[in-house]
Every structure is written in structure tokens, then in C-alpha cells.
């Protein structure tokens, strides 16, 4: 792709440098913890400040880019992933992060999730799933459980919810993880692995809407009497216990975990390498440019015009 002039070495990235406007989220919203974890991971990884690019569609959590002091774009509802794909595919030098909620990602943008996953576009996508539409004030979301009472389902939701984990595993995402906004340390570990993964990495974060769906994720929160059960990953240490552990490269095992009853387990479901769309396209670009040799764009067009005579 086009040559990009490298910027000079930036100074050390700190949480303070990354902090922008104070979030407009409601006090107690799970998304605060997601933002804090994101800052800490960026600080740890020391990604050059100007190379950080946050992208979101529409929703409470999609306000994310405003709260990060970095290049960002707050786009239209449901289309954060195709926009992020355009950035990633045309600017391999950037670190592309997409943020959003369950409505943006699994409902209006549901089709794009499948396609970004199958194409394995190199970017990291964090979904703050709260099982409800918050910004528009309590309508049923694609992940609201059956029976959930909302303004659009006053008698309780009747439609079977989407299981994001089976959707993601099935869609072809090469890194799929699940965490809980109350478990900051776990969230940070998972974020770091997602960012370091080459390809399309997705982290589903259960992030409570304390206004419209309080207590939605208590079953996964030990402090609220629930259980935060982790996926034990294979250590490849030849021990008998390792037999029972999860092989993160095994798609059908990941699918089986994804099918477990709520609150299910947390951690990395799937992590395997497959060439990214970025790499595959770059391969074609490189071989095309090699064939072209020293010809300038003007030469290339002139050659074509010659053939039209």
C-alpha cells in the first residue's frame, strides 16, 4: 500500500495522555471499567499515541471514542466494523479498535460482524453487551433474554436472543473471548491478548446497565453471589489434568463452551492463526507491483489506453 512516512518516536504513553472528556455514562455503568482497562493495556503496550484509532457506531458504549484522547471517529449506527475495516485495510500502520454495544453490533450491524469475522480483518472489536437498548431508554435488544420486560415488550420479550459467542465462533473470528466488566484484571488480560492477536479479535464484555437492566450479570459476579467461572486453557504440559483443559485452537470445543447455559464461562474461547485479509490483499498488491516494475501510474494508464486504440 502507499508508503506512509513514519512519525518520530513519541514520548511515553500514559493514562493521563489518553484521558479525554469525562464520560457521559451514568454513574455505575459497567463501561467505565472497560475504558479504564483499555487505558491500562495501552499504557502497558506503549502503542504510539498517534497510531491509536478508536471507532464506534451509535449507542451508549459507542460514545467510547470521545473519552479516549486519540484519533477517533464516531460513525453511524451499526457500521463501525466496515468503517474500521476500511481504515485497517488501507492503513496497516495503525492500531484499529472498534467499540460498541449489543444493538449496534448484533442487531443493526449483525451482518457486518459475520463478514469482518470471515474476512479476518486485522482489528480489535470490544462489545459492551448490556442486554438492553440504553441510549434510547429501554427497548428489547437482540441479547435480551426471553421474558425481559421492556418498553417494546411490556409483557416480556418473546424472541429468542442471539448468542454472541456461537455467532462469533461460527462466523470465523480468529480470536473470541468473553469477560465481565466487574473483573478488571481478567478484562485487561483478555484485551491484551486480543490486541496482540493478528487478525479479527473480538471481546464480548458483560457490562451492566444499572438504569435499565440492573443485576443482569450478577450470576457471573462473585460479589453478587454469582460465579465467575474461567475457561481453563491447555498448558500442553503432558499432565493428566491437561487432558480436560480447553484447546483454544479447537473450533468445535469453543462452540460447545459457547453453548453453555448463562452465565457460562469466561476467558478465551478461540485463538488461532489464519491469514488476515490485510496479508492476503497485500500479497496481491506486492505481486502486482512487482510485475509493474518501475511503471508510474501515468505509464500504467497510458499502457491501457494504447490497448484501446
Amino acid at each position: 500500500m502507499s508508503a506512509i512516512v513514519e512519525a518520530p518516536e513519541p514520548k511515553k504513553l500514559t493514562k493521563k495522555m489518553l484521558t479525554a472528556d469525562h464520560p457521559t455514562w451514568c454513574p455505575g455503568c459497567g463501561d467505565f471499567a472497560v475504558l479504564a482497562a483499555f487505558f491500562k493495556v495501552l499504557e502497558k503496550l506503549q502503542i504510539p499515541h498517534e497510531k491509536i484509532c478508536t471507532i464506534a457506531g451509535i449507542g451508549c458504549s459507542s460514545r467510547f471514542p470521545y473519552f479516549v484522547n486519540g484519533h477517533g471517529i464516531h460513525y453511524i449506527h451499526g457500521r463501525a466494523l466496515p468503517l474500521a475495516s476500511g481504515v485497517s485495510l488501507s492503513r496497516p500502520d495503525l492500531h484499529v479498535f472498534a467499540f460498541g454495544g449489543d444493538g449496534d453490533g448484533y442487531s443493526i450491524g449483525g451482518n457486518h460482524l459475520d463478514h469482518a469475522a470471515r474476512k479476518n480483518v486485522n482489528l480489535t472489536y470490544v462489545v459492551m453487551d448490556n442486554f438492553v437498548y440504553g441510549l434510547t431508554k429501554k427497548q428489547t435488544s437482540p441479547t435480551s433474554p426471553v421474558g425481559y420486560k421492556s418498553k417494546t415488550d411490556p409483557m416480556g420479550a418473546v424472541d429468542q436472543p442471539i448468542n454472541p459467542m456461537t455467532k462469533l465462533v461460527n462466523g470465523g473470528a480468529t480470536f473470541v473471548a468473553r469477560t465481565h466488566a466487574t473483573q478488571v484484571k481478567h478484562m485487561m488480560e483478555v484485551f491484551q491478548r486480543a490486541i496482540e492477536h493478528p487478525g479479527f479479535s473480538v471481546v464480548e464484555v458483560l457490562s451492566e446497565c444499572i438504569i435499565f437492566y440492573p443485576g443482569a450479570f450478577d450470576e457471573g459476579n462473585p460479589r453478587k453471589g454469582g460465579e465467575f467461572n474461567l475457561i481453563e486453557e491447555k498448558q500442553w504440559d503432558d499432565t493428566p489434568e491437561d487432558e480436560a483443559r480447553h484447546d483454544v485452537t479447537n473450533k468445535s470445543d469453543a462452540y460447545a463452551i459457547a453453548c453453555e447455559e448463562f452465565p457460562g464461562r469466561f476467558g478465551v474461547f478461540l485463538e488461532h492463526d489464519r491469514p488476515t485479509k490485510n496479508q492476503l490483499e497485500q500479497r496481491w498488491i506486492d505481486s502486482s507491483m512487482e510485475k509493474v516494475g518501475d511503471a508510474t501510474p501515468k505509464d500504467l494508464i497510458a499502457q491501457r489506453f494504447e490497448g484501446m486504440k
Binding site: 500500500m1 502507499s2 453511524i76 481504515v87 507491483m289 500504467l300 489506453f305 484501446m308 486504440k309
Partner: protein, 611 residues
């Protein structure tokens, strides 16, 4: 021989001797030849060969084709208008018809002019109306001649090339030049293929059809420069215009008749170090392109009518965020799936006003195949300069038809556009109230330490979201004034004919040729008729009213419906803009290009009304 000039007609053997020894030769300025068959017969390639030949013989050419919207098979035509003078339309009526089947004959005999020549395949056409309108019928066993010539298992494949040989003989076209073109086309498919093609060609070329026509026709070569003319279709010309203008990234979704642009960009862009992405849908396509634009590139997306509708939300985002984006819309017959392979100009209002909110943007429309190239180049310049969406409104007729034109001067046109990742100063603002928008793509260091977030929310000059009534009014004005400023650099359209008079025909897009031809014809008849063509449909050039004021009757000719209030889409705009009651409409929506006689009839109707 066509409608433009008044040279010899074929049935009139003693007219206009060419000066050659063969007194039966008749010299022609123009010829309209229609080939009618099925889509798998390769009749398009006969047309393509003739068009290329025309470009190499300094002849003018314009083609017109129909393709069925089925996947394979079905009736198809290709019409070629060749001329040594100016060729402005595909031709109202054909001088020659080549009918491959009974249905081709039955459906297209009425496209021939009175006294025209119909050559039909006696292997397939059994019933002919020999005494109709003085048409000369010539029956040839086209299929059997081809089968005999090639032999083997080719069956009747190659009869298109046989007919090309026939045409070459009838019109005294250069066998040498045509065989070079055939070799160029088939040579790389193997020697056998090229040999069979030449066997078929020569079978036609040697067939003594001249006796049946009582002589051949000499289609004169043009007198213009023989070098540098190229022949191609509108979509191809437009694609290379985009490449010349600096487009290196884009995304799209397949839809007829836009797809050939995305296919060509997909295979060409990697050679330029760029990339075109096939998206999962129209919404993703425009969003990918927007992402590329946000990333600092000059990016393009495109579609046809229904797809443009799907992109509308994103287009108003581009206006709001002030990101440069080029959108190609290859118009086709609507509404809905409509007539996917026919021409119409019914997306003008959609292109200008199709999004929610007040979202001004630039819309330009090419007038012919050559102009597709230049309009694309201009769209690139405008998108960069004004940092806004620019819609190129082309159409199905331009997309598929072939014309010959002078090779563009690439030295003065081709540019490279790279993302500007320079450090932005501490006082940088993306939307200065009095200045041009300059987006800072990700990767640009910010000297002040504060990074921008591009947003679709209303925002102030620093890009900060704001719901203030004052800010919204001010920023709406900023986006409006920015587009109004574009008009300052748009030249007034040239008037074809006198600067004042009775009638002014106004057109936009692909109606340019037929309107110009109709204007010239009316002027020949001594009528006071002039015409202008509007290339920049939004914003309009400043001062158009000074042209309108000099005419009594202003007739806007366009291929869309007259609507509820009796005016086509451009006419509606012009009436609203200039409050000139003399502006009226001549509209049609039959999915076909305007015929010269239809335009002339439209002017007459006005003359009757105003007299």
C-alpha cells in the same frame, strides 16, 4: 447516410459517385448498422471490432446495445453508428439490419429506415416481408457458411466474425486493420482460435454479397488525426479517470450497470499499490470507503439507483463530517428493481437531495463516453478541494456504449494523492469557520496533545459535539456556503447556436448527443433553436439565468417522468431556482435514448403553444 448528414442513400445507386473506377460503389459519410441476435452470439464483439476500427480510421463512432437481464441467452442487439463526420447519437433509424433469427427479424425490421437494407440468415429466418417500405432484403445462409468455413465441432460459433467479414466487404473496410484487431483479441487464446476466427472472417469477406446489393458502399475514412484516438465504453473511461485523479482505495457491491467499474478497479488498483474491496452490502461498501477516506486516502464507492438509496445515511455523514468521498451512480430504470438494463435519468433528485437533514453535496454528470473520464478527474479534484462527497451521475447508456475519442493528455492530468500525516499545530481546528476543512487522518501527531474525534453529531469548529442552536445554524451555513463556493469556478455552459432566440433546449448527462444533433437539425431547417448542456447539476453555474432570459421557450429534455406537477427533475429544479415560467419539460421513460425526432417534436409542441 444517417440522420446527421444528407449524403448518398444506399438504394440510390447513382448518387454521389466516389470517383473510384467501380461506378457501383457508393460513398457514405455515415452508416447506422444494427445487429440483432441472441446474447450468446457475440454480436457485441462485432460492434466492438467496428468501433475500434473506427477509432483507427479517424471515423467517429457511437454504439448502442441492449442486453437481456437474464444470465445467458435472450434477444440482444448491438447498433453501431459509424461516420466520417460528427456522430452524436446511436442513430434514430438503422440503414442496415443484420437479423440472425426470425425473432430478430420480426422485432427489428421496424428499426430500419424506409428503403434500408436487411440482411438475414436464411438458415433461421423463414418469413420475410419483401414488399415493406422499399426495404431491400438480402438472404444469406450465414450459419451454414460459417459452419462450412470453420468445420469441426465449432457448430455455428464464429458467425459473428463471419458477419464482421461481410460488413468489411460491404463497406470496404480495411481487412488488414480488422485482422490485426482480431489477432489482438483472439491471438492470446491460441493459434487455433485465431485461425478459426480468420476462416470465418474471410468466408464473410469473400462472399459475393455485393452482387445482391448491386454494388458495395465506401464508408469514407475521416480526415481528422489518425493517431491517438481510442475507443472504449463509459464505465471504462470513468474508471481510468478515477485512477488518473488519484483514487487508490474504494469499496463496492455488485449491481448492474455499476459492476464493471468495481471489477476493473478491483483488478487495476493493486498495480497502483491500492485496493478495492468487495463489501457484503451497499452500507458496508460506503462505510469501507468512508473508513479509507478517514484514513487519509481519496476513496470511491459506487452503485446504481437502488444501491445509492442504501448509501444515503452514510452520505449525509460524509457531508456532516466533511470527509472527501467520490460516489459513482450509474443510473438505470427505476423505481425499485425497475429496468435494470435500460437507461433513465431519474436519480437526479436522489443524488442532490436523497439524504436526511440538510446535506449539500456536489453532483456532476458526464455528457458522453469521453466526458466520463474528465468528470471522474474533476470529481477527484472537487472532493479533495472541498472535502465533501461528490456524486458522479452517469447512466446505463454511457456505461455500455462505445465511442472513439482523443487520448487524454495524461501528463497534465495524472496525480498522486497521499495521506497527509504531518504534525498538526496546537491551534489546529478541523472546521475553521472561514477556512477550508483539512482533515487530520489517524497517524498525524498532534502538537497540542489533543486528538480529534470525527463525528456525525453537530459540532463546533474544533469538532466538539454541540447541541447549541447557534452552532447548528452556523455549521449548516458553513456546509452550505462551502458548496455554493464551488459554483464560482464552474464555467457557464456554452450555447450551441445563437445566444438568443425562440427556443433553448437544456439537457444534462447522456442526452447531450441527441440534443446537439436535434439542435443542428432544427437550425438547418432555419428554426431559431439553440441548446445548452448542464454538466454541473449541483451546484448550478452562476449566471445561467442570463442565458435563459434570452429565449422565449426553454425546453428541458430528460429521461425521467414529468412527475405530479408536470415537470421532469431538472426542469423542476430550474423552475424553482430561476422562477422562469418559460421553462418546461420534455420527458420520457421508455428506457431508450432520446431519438432526434422525439426532441424535435417536443420543440414543435412548444412552438405551437407559444405562437
Amino acid at each position: 447516410m444517417s440522420s446527421t448528414a444528407t449524403p448518398a442513400s444506399p438504394e440510390n445507386t447513382d448518387a454521389s459517385a466516389s470517383g473510384s473506377d467501380d461506378s457501383s460503389d457508393r460513398e457514405l459519410q455515415n452508416a447506422v448498422i444494427r445487429f440483432a441476435g441472441n446474447s450468446q452470439d457475440g454480436i457485441q464483439s462485432i460492434g466492438a471490432f467496428l468501433a475500434k476500427l473506427a477509432g483507427r480510421s479517424a471515423r467517429e463512432v457511437m454504439t448502442y446495445m441492449t442486453i437481456p437481464s437474464t444470465i445467458a441467452g435472450g434477444p440482444s442487439i448491438f447498433q453501431v453508428h459509424l461516420g466520417s463526420g460528427e456522430v452524436l447519437s446511436p442513430g434514430d433509424e438503422a440503414d442496415f439490419l443484420f437479423a440472425f433469427y426470425q425473432h430478430s427479424y420480426d422485432d427489428h425490421l421496424n428499426s430500419l429506415k424506409d428503403g434500408g437494407i436487411c440482411i438475414y440468415d436464411t438458415d433461421h429466418v423463414e418469413e420475410v416481408k419483401k414488399d415493406e417500405r422499399g426495404i431491400l432484403h438480402v438472404g444469406l445462409p450465414i450459419t451454414s457458411i460459417t459452419v462450412e468455413a470453420i468445420g469441426g465441432s465449432a457448430r455455428d460459433r464464429g458467425k459473428n466474425i463471419m458477419v464482421l467479414g461481410l460488413v468489411a466487404q460491404i463497406f470496404q473496410l480495411s481487412r488488414e486493420k480488422l485482422s490485426t484487431l482480431i489477432e489482438k483479441q483472439f491471438g492470446r487464446k491460441g493459434e487455433g482460435v485465431f485461425r478459426n476466427a480468420m476462416l470465418a472472417f474471410d468466408a464473410g469477406y469473400a462472399y459475393a454479397v455485393g452482387d445482391l446489393l448491386s454494388g458495395d458502399f465506401d464508408l469514407k475514412e475521416g480526415t481528422g488525426a489518425k493517431e491517438g484516438k481510442m475507443t472504449t465504453d463509459g464505465n471504462t473511461a470513468l474508471t481510468y479517470g478515477l485512477l488518473a485523479g488519484g483514487v487508490r482505495y474504494g469499496a463496492g457491491y455488485p449491481i448492474t450497470p455499476w459492476s464493471s467499474i468495481m471489477e476493473l478497479l478491483r483488478s487495476e488498483l493493486p498495480k497502483y499499490g491500492g485496493l478495492f474491496v468487495q463489501a457484503e452490502d451497499e452500507l458496508a461498501a460506503v462505510s469501507l470507503a468512508m473508513g479509507m477516506s478517514f484514513a487519509g486516502h481519496l476513496a470511491i464507492t459506487g452503485s446504481s439507483g437502488p444501491g445509492l438509496s442504501l448509501k444515503m445515511e452514510a452520505l449525509s455523514y460524509a457531508t456532516m463530517a466533511e470527509l472527501p468521498l467520490i460516489i459513482v451512480n450509474v443510473q438505470r430504470g427505476g423505481p425499485s428493481t425497475g429496468l435494470p438494463t435500460s437507461v433513465e435519468q431519474s436519480d437526479l433528485m436522489q443524488a442532490i437531495y436523497g439524504s436526511h437533514g440538510d446535506s449539500p453535496r456536489i453532483v456532476i454528470a458526464p455528457r458522453n463516453v469521453e466526458d466520463c473520464f474528465y468528470v471522474a478527474v474533476e470529481a477527484c479534484e472537487l472532493a479533495k478541494k472541498y472535502s465533501c462527497p461528490v456524486i458522479i451521475l452517469t447512466d446505463q447508456a454511457l456505461a455500455t456504449r462505445i465511442e472513439a475519442f482523443k487520448e487524454p493528455d495524461l501528463d497534465s492530468i495524472v496525480v498522486e494523492v497521499k495521506p497527509d500525516l504531518s504534525e498538526r499545530p496546537a491551534d489546529w481546528s478541523p472546521y475553521p469557520i472561514d477556512g477550508a476543512t483539512v482533515h487530520a487522518p489517524p497517524g498525524s501527531p498532534m502538537a497540542g496533545g489533543k486528538y480529534p474525534v470525527v463525528t456525525g453529531l453537530e459540532h463546533d469548529e474544533w469538532g466538539h459535539p454541540s447541541g447549541s442552536p447557534e452552532v447548528h445554524s452556523k455549521m449548516n451555513a458553513r456546509r452550505r456556503e462551502k458548496i455554493k463556493k464551488v459554483a464560482d469556478n464552474i464555467p457557464l455552459p456554452k450555447v450551441c447556436g445563437e445566444e438568443s432566440g425562440d427556443t433553448l433546449i437544456v439537457g444534462w448527462g447522456s442526452t447531450w448527443g441527441p440534443i446537439r444533433e436535434a439542435t443542428l437539425r432544427a437550425q438547418e431547417k432555419g428554426l431559431s433553436v439553440s441548446s445548452i448542456h448542464i454538466r454541473h447539476v449541483h451546484p448550478l453555474a452562476n449566471g445561467l439565468e442570463t442565458i435563459f432570459d434570452n429565449f422565449k421557450d426553454i425546453v428541458v429534455v430528460e429521461m425521467n417522468d414529468e412527475g405530479l406537477y408536470g415537470n421532469g427533475q431538472l426542469a423542476t429544479l430550474l423552475r424553482a431556482r430561476y422562477c422562469n415560467p418559460n421553462i418546461r419539460s420534455v420527458c420520457k421513460t421508455d428506457g431508450l435514448n432520446f431519438k432526434i425526432k422525439e426532441i424535435l417534436a417536443g420543440i414543435d409542441a412548444g412552438a405551437t403553444a407559444t405562437s
